[in-house]
Symmetry: C2
Subunit: 563 residues, 2 copies
Amino acid sequence: MRSHFHAEASIEVYFKLAEMGGDMESKVYLYDTTLRDGTQGEGISLSVEDKIKIALRLDQFGIDFIEGGWPGSNPKDMAFFERVREIPLKHAKVTAFGSTCRPNVAASEDDNLQALIASGVSAAAIFGKSWDLHVTDALKTTLEENIRMVADSVAFLKEKGLTTLFLAEHFFDGYKANPRYALRVLEAAEEAGADWIVLCDTNGGSLPHEVYDIVKSAVSQLRVPIGIHPHNDSGVAVANALAAVQAGATQVQGTINGIGERCGNVNLISVVPNLQLKLGFTCISNEQLQDLTQLSRYVAEIANMTLPNNQPFVGHSAFAHKGGIHVSAVLRDPKTYEHIEPENIGNKRRVLVSELAGQSNLLAKMEELEIDLSLDREKAREVITRIKEREFQGYQYEGAEASLTLMLLEAAGKLKNLFTLDSFKILMEKAAVQSITSEATVKLSVNGETVHTAADGNGPVNALDNAMRKALESYYPCIANMHLADYKVRVLDENGATAAKVRVLIESASNGEKWSTVGVSTNVIEASWEALADSIRYMLWKEGCVEADNHAAAGARVGIVNH
Amino acid sequence: MRSHFHAEASIEVYFKLAEMGGDMESKVYLYDTTLRDGTQGEGISLSVEDKIKIALRLDQFGIDFIEGGWPGSNPKDMAFFERVREIPLKHAKVTAFGSTCRPNVAASEDDNLQALIASGVSAAAIFGKSWDLHVTDALKTTLEENIRMVADSVAFLKEKGLTTLFLAEHFFDGYKANPRYALRVLEAAEEAGADWIVLCDTNGGSLPHEVYDIVKSAVSQLRVPIGIHPHNDSGVAVANALAAVQAGATQVQGTINGIGERCGNVNLISVVPNLQLKLGFTCISNEQLQDLTQLSRYVAEIANMTLPNNQPFVGHSAFAHKGGIHVSAVLRDPKTYEHIEPENIGNKRRVLVSELAGQSNLLAKMEELEIDLSLDREKAREVITRIKEREFQGYQYEGAEASLTLMLLEAAGKLKNLFTLDSFKILMEKAAVQSITSEATVKLSVNGETVHTAADGNGPVNALDNAMRKALESYYPCIANMHLADYKVRVLDENGATAAKVRVLIESASNGEKWSTVGVSTNVIEASWEALADSIRYMLWKEGCVEADNHAAAGARVGIVNH
């Protein structure tokens, strides 16, 4: 299948633009549609409260337009617009999404446009058709009537005093099929007074060279500023956004972390640093840019989604170095294996300890973890061997640096044994119509004393966690401050399923700080126990927690025998 | 930071190439480095057995070069080359990775090059420096000595009869800093007889317009065929690969699913369909291309990684439609919201049932699930309400279509009640030095009879699963064929941690078919029970399993009261 696109475009090369100077310093506006297009993504669902939280954060970050929803389509979106009016945003314009009026209906009579006005926003973005085939086959109206709908709808919103963005749906496919008609639709929106015209690659099928050229053509024929709205179905949405800006577009519409229908919208988290750090455009301040990583993680957390570790720029692995050659070089000069400085976007460099690691990795890691163990070569070799053994068993320290720290401290003989497990039991019962009950009993040795206690919980791990805290809190009161922030179970050998080995990762938090621990077993409860115990031990070490007065330490042994 | 890159390139536009015809039909070679560069990715670890499995699959898919590892660097890689020699590959050339010889060492004396020969491969890829700064600062040698190292190493491998690829590390950064020197390095490799020269964007910082132009320049000055090796640190690796091919490169080096150090290598899974379906190049046969989705999922499974649902082309959501407008349009004409036909790459269209859904989605879903319930409007509305309620509680049917099917069947009164839970108990015990034990007892009613039995397990869910099978197998012998393939736990409300609501997703398999079910509870065991029960109920319905002869059904009730 060959591209059947024959435009008469100017002959220019991308990179030439990089030399143009003046223009390149200019502002590119950011339009975020996480709250609307983003929620079309599979598995994404945001409450009104979630949306308010995200809107506040987007505003701080310097986003220019925050698309909050489609007021005509569902009550949740309308509730958002009501709530957001009470929130004082510093910079962003809250924008409502909708469509042009229907065929043969005056804009002023159209429910959907009325709902935009009723939402109380000062900016509205309406989409309309620019692909002739869609007009005749999907809308089932004439090409002329579609032009009327676009013009009438834009004029109506302008008359009501709204900043009006016209989104040309399927513009790139439409332009390839019938460039004259596609451009006529844009001209109609411009003449009706649109403040912005946004070119949408609705199906996400366009490639950068096409986007560059088609945007160039639109820019040359219109006076109104142009935006780009790319989707990632071809895996090139970020490149498409950059190509559009290089061709003269001055607004990018996308979402945080690229969430959205199918393969998602363009990821603003990747677009912004490319535009600002590499191409010299201005989107936000450099201080705001330093919040990029945190913003990405915050939205992921609210949306309850797991970010890929390898996400460009902000991923946990984006500046992580594993291969031996890379590690030693990057420690000498970060430029050798890093394309930008992670500090500029609030991310940080990491050195991975893994089966590929050598002593230089281990030393760099200890420095990063801020522990000075002064291990001799022999001891260091032992630790590396131990890590390799544990990794072979299924442990993964890359995501559980607190467990790694404990292992290093233990190897160096610098970890006091604060408690020892004697035994635990967990009993769960469920009768047909009743909820399940979970009870845990634990017997621990703390400073030579035996503590034997029991607690209920919402589940086996929660019951165990409660019983352990109950047993330890009177000895180590600082435990009261910590709580578990995340709990993940990963099956290591798919073929075994529920009989397979599982890895449990626990993230704990205390006073805003977070740490992660790991446990591995064929039994999910035993793996959870390991991770729970590590989590408490790490907290006790990190916070320098000591025993409460009535339980003064009496010659605590070095070494841990919990599991 | 402005790009400081000043090349004197030809003035051309990308898209012009799309019109060139002849050349565009030409072959682009695929070089896969999943087994080497891919394993540098955080959390990725492959056994020798895993590597062999993947190599076989890559060969079937039509990959031209399979890079198996770095024989000089670790014993596992050497073991792979030994094993792979016994495997009859149909098409692919197994390739070993290494570096040029060290400064002031003759190629014939270099251990690393010796190891390449010893690995017994017929093709070798060696990397060398092409950025002047790296030569003087990292290698700490002279620019002339580096040229000698490149030429000597290539000549040595050619003399030994190997197909030799020279990988110019940091070529794009090197070219920007000192184009004359960067090109001199390539010329040295060409003169020494290299079969391929591969330009590496090692730090992943280059953008498509730069890649296009720099590749163009290299292609125009060399006769040897050129490859591209992009990394995804800027989120534009796929676009960079396409730009390089459009500029004349005829080999792309990447990995399956884009795994690799930091943000990964370029994802061949996205590159291949773009090149072949959109730009008219040939990489593999159209039949092989239909294996794209399965290949992606197979490698993810072996590497034990979770694929993002929104992965371009092959993701579970890549052709999934959620928004009401999109759904009704795509059902009329797939072209309206799909950039390619999913069948061409072995993926399929899906319609999502969600809070955004209307009746048309529900009907389309039933068609997709191949169930005909002839629900009336009233009943359909009830089902949608029920789905919305359950989604509000935390259920998610997008990833658990078997549970959705059961709910639809139940609503239509078409599901027989094959068993009912009376009660279950689970007891786990752990003493300090012993492994944990798990025992489950279950009491079920099956056809008016009470079955009361018990089983051990490797963990609580496994014990419960074993006890249920034991109770049911004599009634429904087909249960013996099914097994659990995956088990996932997701915490729904991070703030509550172990006391929070969890969602359990279970994937079950029988005779190669897979299905997924869901359970939600604050108790992980109760949630697992729900998903387990659904999984068995679905199997019994799908397979049309009936009771064994000695337990003939006696007026089974409609409706399920398991949980």
